[in-house]
Symmetry: C2
Subunit: 209 residues, 2 copies
Amino acid sequence: MKLYDTAPAPSPRRVRMFIAEKGIDIPVVQVDLRGGEHLKTEFMKLNPWCTVPVLELDDGTCISEAIACCRYLEAAFPEPPLMGVSPEEQGIIAMWEHRVEWDGFIAGSEVLRNTAAGMSGRGLTGSKGYEQIPELALRGKQRIQKLYEMLDQRFGESEYLAGPDFTVADITCLIAVDFARRQKLEIPDDCANVKRWHQQISQRPSAKV
Amino acid sequence: MKLYDTAPAPSPRRVRMFIAEKGIDIPVVQVDLRGGEHLKTEFMKLNPWCTVPVLELDDGTCISEAIACCRYLEAAFPEPPLMGVSPEEQGIIAMWEHRVEWDGFIAGSEVLRNTAAGMSGRGLTGSKGYEQIPELALRGKQRIQKLYEMLDQRFGESEYLAGPDFTVADITCLIAVDFARRQKLEIPDDCANVKRWHQQISQRPSAKV
């Protein structure tokens, strides 16, 4: 098995952190996104959607989309569980994971891809180019502010995002928050609960990989 | 257990179809989205993200986000499996489900919410209003065309979206395609494989619920 990864990109970091929490070791192949390696025929055979991460299994099966890589790994390496055990846990974790992916991760992408000069013509991932939409970047910033508010309420009542245990929802949320912070959308000073949680999760060894 | 639903909306249809495929019976409560019931305090106690579907369990636990409702139901009612059994199946199904949610469902929402007069100030779900961005609707249409191309290739090599069996990925894909068709983004004539698959899936009794 190997992981196609791009070190600075937020999506593959989700899978690296998940792997580190599982305590397993998977060789990594770096994909040069800046050089357009993900848009070349060879990479598109692995993932026609042209994104990292991709998990290539020993039989050549390729799994892309960060949450799908995590789903495979959770089933193949169940301990420690990061996606819940009981039906209720599984549902609640999937709910929070999906919320922060959409309102954090996707919103952060809307900001980056619609403002960065290097992303001109790359408003979305994939082989088809899309022009930047400046209003979408502004909307993305508003979404991140709203998410911080919602998260502050949540972390006022729960130690981790999906309940009393650390889960994949915390991984997605940490990386969404760090992605926003890289774009100068810092955790607001009045969101003390988010700051507490962010500091706590950032100290895990898996947050450094 | 009960399901908070809005009959014409695409997201709760994903959960209704999933429930029908499981052969279970869950009472339904209609939420009046047009009347703004989802933005009122009472509903926001169930789901502060103000969206349907919401699955309310007998102990009052609420699970929202369509894929999270499915995840709960899959674990609580494993037969027939709709999200895979082996780690590989689970990963591949999650990958396709996520791809069509993003490039079909979200793209369809971009078209609807940024064009429909009734969606003015409602560019995104949730309690915070967002103005419409006409360019985003245009981009959404391009995304749907690209998705049809990608799907046509896939359905040329696979009976169902994620492999030889019907899964939740087909549910999300069917409803994404039907959502696009309601917005006059019909399956293109040169996408015969998508048409074959769409006709086949639409004949399932669960597609009518």
